[in-house]
Amino acid sequence: MKQLLQLKLGDLNLGSLNTAPLKRPYVALMMDVIGRGLEASSQVDANIKREVQKLPDGFMFDMRALPSGPCFVMEKNADGNLSYIGSEAPRKPDVSLKFKHLNHAFLVLSFQEGTARAFANDRILVDGEIAHAMKLVRCLNRMESLILPKFVAVRALKRYPQLSLKQKLAGGGKIYSRLAKNLVWG
């Protein structure tokens, strides 16, 4: 599985395939998954709840690939959780995380480049309050540590947290169940 994943991602990342037809839909799909995953995580995971609690009411953020690539928009709702809005922001988001190119989003969302490394490599622009952006990065990291298999998560994170198998399965399970529930019931 691990080798297969690496092979496929490697194929997609060849220079000649920079505009591969699969990249855009892959990034769009992953952004959708992350958006919905964050929504579910903010409802069930205590750590993410704590971070979201510190964001202002009505706080809105998006993540997008410049100049007109895939995007997802989230908002802090009245219940204090994150709501997945979709791919169109109804107003200028308070924080915008912008990949400079679709390919850079692909590198991160295919776990070939971690989030912190992407920041260090100048792949991502942050427009808005940095303190809020840091909270969002921590939410993303926490979610990734719970829902991704460890061999994938270690590529995305600077440090994989100390999680027992029980914690991992319980945390990830809760998020996946809530995700399914949200998808079915809205």
Binding site: A116, R117, F119, A120, N121, D122, R123, L125, V126, D127, G128, I130, A131, A133, M134, K135, V137, R138, L157, K158, R159
Partner: protein
């Protein structure tokens, strides 16, 4: 440890050395400017440093048209608007900032307003809002530490909203940084020490952080060597112009390094401590530097070990086993701090500041986690980690 991609950018002309100030009129002319305004503060003017700049214009066929000398320690939008009006009323066409971080940031704000013909500075806050070159802008640093003369950011307080506005644009970079030893010659010992350790931290974090790259490394290593070799010399002989110039150059080089590689946990903790306890930035850097390096040592020991060469010299480096160099580099920094404490009482721990209470540690750690520089620290930091470093720094 290299990275697979990096960016490096520094278009600032460095005008450095003996009689550097006298080059300003010529440099202005090359940019088609002839009516400069000086922006400075009372301390700089009181120390007679503006006289050096004005003297440089004698026999140059050019005059300084206006001087504003009341920049406060924390730059604000109100002051920026006031200076911009003075600039326009006097028909100026260029800006010379003479001072430290606040004067330079204020001048960057003024340059935005006068170049964009705007009244409301807040409209230009954020990343990449500016889209065209600004008026000719020179910086003459009067401390050797901040590196603001080569950075593309400015932070200016909005007193009405009670927030600090960040401005980030390549157009904020000065056209020239003028390093003249006369401008730092009278800097008191404790400020010399504090600002030098600020520059040292810029260089060390640039070299050990996630954003390090081959070009920023070269600047960082040279900066560390210059500071190690000249700081005590300047404290021993404050009027040693050559050693003063070495520190000024080191500060600029460290500024170039960190603005292209970013900084890490020392700055995250230092920004929080500065904001919460109102301690000077350089003091905070000096305080946290070894503790953060110790935190990073296990994962970054090889990179930290490379710093032993510029910190302690070739002989020490050669006789220290490779595996011990990281620890030895940290010990060398500790020795420098001990010497600075002995000479200037520059605090080495939170308790030595006398201005921090132990119950503020939790808050400091929480604030540090929200600081943008933490993402560039080579080792992940969570709340418990930050608290642990702060406890060690107590």
């Amino acid at each position: 440890m290299t990275k697979s991609y990096y960016e490096f950018f520094c278009p600032v002309k460095i005008v450095a050395g003996n009689a550097a100030l006298e080059h300003i009129p010529h440099e202005l002319r090359t940019l088609a400017a002839a009516r400069p305004m000086i922006i400075t503060d009372k301390g700089v003017r009181g120390a007679g440093l503006i006289d050096h700049v004005l003297g440089a214009f004698a026999e140059s066929g050019m005059d300084v048209v206006e001087i504003y000398d009341d920049v406060p320690p924390d730059s604000s939008t109100t002051v920026v608007t006031q200076i911009a009006k003075l600039y326009r009323d006097s028909g100026c066409d260029s800006i010379i900032a003479v001072g430290g971080g606040s004067v330079i940031d204020t001048s960057k704000g003024v340059n935005i307003l006068v170049s964009e013909d705007g009244e409301d500075l807040t409209a230009f806050s954020g990343v990449g809002v500016l889209t065209k070159p600004l008026k000719p802008f020179f910086v003459v640093p009067t401390t050797a530490g901040t590196g603001s003369e080569v950075t593309l950011v400015a932070v200016i307080a909005d007193p009405e909203k009670g927030v600090k506005l960040p401005f980030t644009s390549y157009f904020l970079l000065p056209n020239a940084a003028v390093l003249d030893p006369r401008m730092t010659l009278t800097l008191p010992a404790h400020i010399t020490a504090m600002t030098a350790m600020d520059a040292m931290t810029h260089a060390v974090e640039a070299f050990t952080g996630m954003g390090k790259n081959p070009i920023s490394d070269a600047y960082a290593v040279s900066a560390i060597k210059k500071i190690s070799e000249n700081l005590m010399q300047v404290l021993n002989t404050p009027d040693d112009a050559d050693a003063r110039l070495e520190l000024a150059q080191a500060s600029t080089m460290a500024g170039i390094a960190f603005s292209n590689s970013m900084v890490g946990l020392v700055h995250s903790l230092g920004h929080s401590l500065g904001a919460l306890c109102h301690l000077p930035h350089g003091l905070c850097m000096n305080l946290f530097l070894p503790y953060v390096l110790e935190y990073n040592l296990a994962e970054r020991g090889d990179v930290i070990g490379e710093l032993l060469l510029p910190l302690a010299g070739a002989e020490v480096y050669a006789r220290t086993p490779a595996a011990d160099r990281g620890r030895a580099a940290i010990n060398t920094l500790r020795e420098i701090r001990d010497e600075l404490y002995r000479r200037c009482k520059l605090p080495r721990s939170l308790s030595e500041t006398g201005k921090v209470s132990r119950d503020q540690i939790q808050k400091l750690a929480e604030m540090a986690l929200d600081d943008g520089s933490i993402i560039f620290n080579p080792v992940e930091v969570d709340l418990d980690d930050a608290i642990s470093v702060l406890e060690k720094a107590w």
